[in-house]
């Protein structure tokens, strides 16, 4: 089985390396060489830092608000009736179209980018938190109330743990989205960051630089995803893990 897993990857890499592709598709070895080279220079770290300084605060703000409001909307009926229609109505709208408007309102700098990332991250976390609360088993709530728990402790001890896995699933989606939106915002308009780097690399036909920034963003995305999953497993160790 391990051989089957590795065989596809190895086959793809071998074909990629030796297929004689056009200039703009570098071979894996060349990409690795350029990447190691770039790791030695300070420039790449600056751009990575600039990108993370946009995506992480945006992700944090968006998921915090999403989780808080989603839990509130799932719990309190009047809040649900007030907020949910607006959220579900605007959910399928691609949030990146708000970027030009945010740029006019909040300036062309990092603030508008952080806010657009927060907006994009808000939706998946809100919706998952909302459905997570709704999916709480009624019998558990009844038992807790029956044993004399106050509404506050029902929320903290029953509803929150039951919604937590869904919130983490939403945060996984939000993290992937935060990288997409960060990258898009930087490609459209920025002076630093990986999106900017790939843009100038494309304009000056520096294919090595293009693949280096591509690889860095791939590694960042993968590492972020691992981190969310690791936290999930740590915090919710008591929960049955899906296979």
């Amino acid at each position: 089985m391990a051989l089957a897993k590795a065989s596809l990857l190895i086959a793809v890499l071998l074909i990629w390396q030796f297929a004689g592709l056009p200039d703009y598709v570098l071979s894996p070895l060349e990409i690795a060489r350029h990447f190691v080279q770039a790791l030695g220079s300070a420039e790449l770290y600056e751009h990575i830092g600039a990108s993370l300084a946009r995506s992480l605060p945006g992700f944090a703000i968006g998921s915090f608000l999403g989780a808080a409001l989603g839990l509130a909307a799932g719990t309190a009926r009047w809040f649900d009736r007030m907020l949910s229609p607006a959220v579900f109505l605007t959910y399928p709208v691609p949030k990146i179209v708000m970027l030009p408007i945010f740029m006019l309102w909040f300036g062309i700098g990092d603030l508008s980018k952080v806010l657009i990332i927060a907006l994009a991250c808000f939706y998946p976390v809100f919706i998952n938190a909302y459905y997570g609360v709704k999916a709480t088993r009624t019998i558990l709530v009844w038992s807790a109330l029956n044993m004399g728990a106050t509404p506050a402790s029902v929320f903290r001890r029953v509803v929150l743990p039951s919604a937590a896995p869904m919130i983490f699933a939403g945060m996984r989606v939000a993290l992937a989205l935060s990288f997409i939106v960060m990258f898009a915002a930087e490609m459209i308009n920025a002076r630093t960051g990986l999106g900017y780097l790939i843009r100038i690399a494309e304009n000056s036909l520096r294919f090595d630089l293009m693949y280096v920034s591509l690889l860095s963003i791939a590694i960042l995305g993968y590492a972020g995803d691992r981190l969310v999953r690791f936290t999930h497993r740590r915090l919710l160790a008591w929960q049955e893990q899906p296979a």
């Binding site: 598709v25 006019l104 843009r199 791939a218 993968y222």
Partner: protein, 258 residues
């Protein structure tokens, strides 16, 4: 009771009222907060102007084209992975490993490989939509109730019969859940790619309106005619038959390509 009925609209109404008040107060530039009335006018113009409907159509066929391809390939791959341990062992590490990687970063390379026209955008939409569809149909095909499979086999169903009568119906809800994730993703990717590199489509229209500071058009996504100018000079050129033919050729080229 009436209050209960109106509650869902309350927040929307309050936000809209604040917006309109901010637009009319004169505290902010009209360019930053165009009045809702103007936005609505733009929206009406948008739906009556064939040139702008064409932009919407361009965006729509890119999104739907990529989505449809992803649906066909994704369901096939996902079912295959669910039914065969070997295929799952080969493809699952690939899909779960690159799931969190923003595929959008590949766009500049796609431009070189597929050209700057529709094909690179459709290819990117395809790639982004493929992941949720594959992952959901894989999960669905894996979770088919064993007892149902055994009963079908026990009653003498062939492999094809089992697939058609048991596996596909059992997987369908998962496939549709994947579609629900993939459709907004398709729209997002289309708009972003059009904003980054395109000469047509809604994303391009938004960026174009921003650079010409037509914020009301940007928000409405429609065509604005400045009343101070004679009709013929203002706004963007009217749709000519030539344009539409060009777009039609564009479409045919896309259909012919793969």
């Amino acid at each position: 009771m009436l209050l209960n009925r109106l509650l869902p609209f309350l927040l929307v109404a309050v936000v809209l009222a604040i917006w309109e008040a901010a637009a009319r107060s004169g505290l902010w530039n009209r360019l930053l907060f165009p009045s809702l009335v103007n936005i609505f006018q733009e929206l009406v113009l948008f739906f009556t102007n064939s040139a702008y409907l064409m932009e919407a159509w361009v965006s729509l066929y890119r999104a739907l084209g990529g989505f449809a391809l992803a649906a066909v390939v994704g369901i096939f791959l996902g079912m295959l992975m669910g039914r065969s341990k070997l295929v799952a062992g080969m493809l699952d590490p690939f899909f779960s490993g690159t799931y969190a990687v923003p595929k959008l970063a590949l766009f500049p390379i796609f431009i070189f490989v597929f050209g700057i026209g529709s094909l690179s955008k459709v290819a990117l939409v395809f790639l982004e939509c493929l992941y949720p569809i594959v992952i959901m149909s894989y999960a669905g095909a894996r979770s088919v109730n064993r007892v149902l499979l055994w009963s079908a086999q026990n009653m003498g169903a062939s492999r094809a019969d089992t697939l058609r009568r048991v596996v596909i119906p059992a997987t369908a809800p998962f496939i549709f859940a994947g579609f629900r994730v993939a459709v907004p993703v398709a729209m997002i990717v289309v708009v972003i790619t059009e904003m980054v590199a395109s000469a047509d489509g809604l994303g391009n229209l938004v960026i174009y309106s921003l650079s010409s500071l037509k914020t009301d058009r940007m928000l409405g996504g429609g065509g604005h005619r400045d009343p101070r100018l004679p009709a013929r000079q203002s706004g963007r050129p009217r749709a000519r038959p030539v344009d539409i033919l060009g777009k039609a050729r564009h479409l045919l080229r896309l259909r012919g390509t793969p």
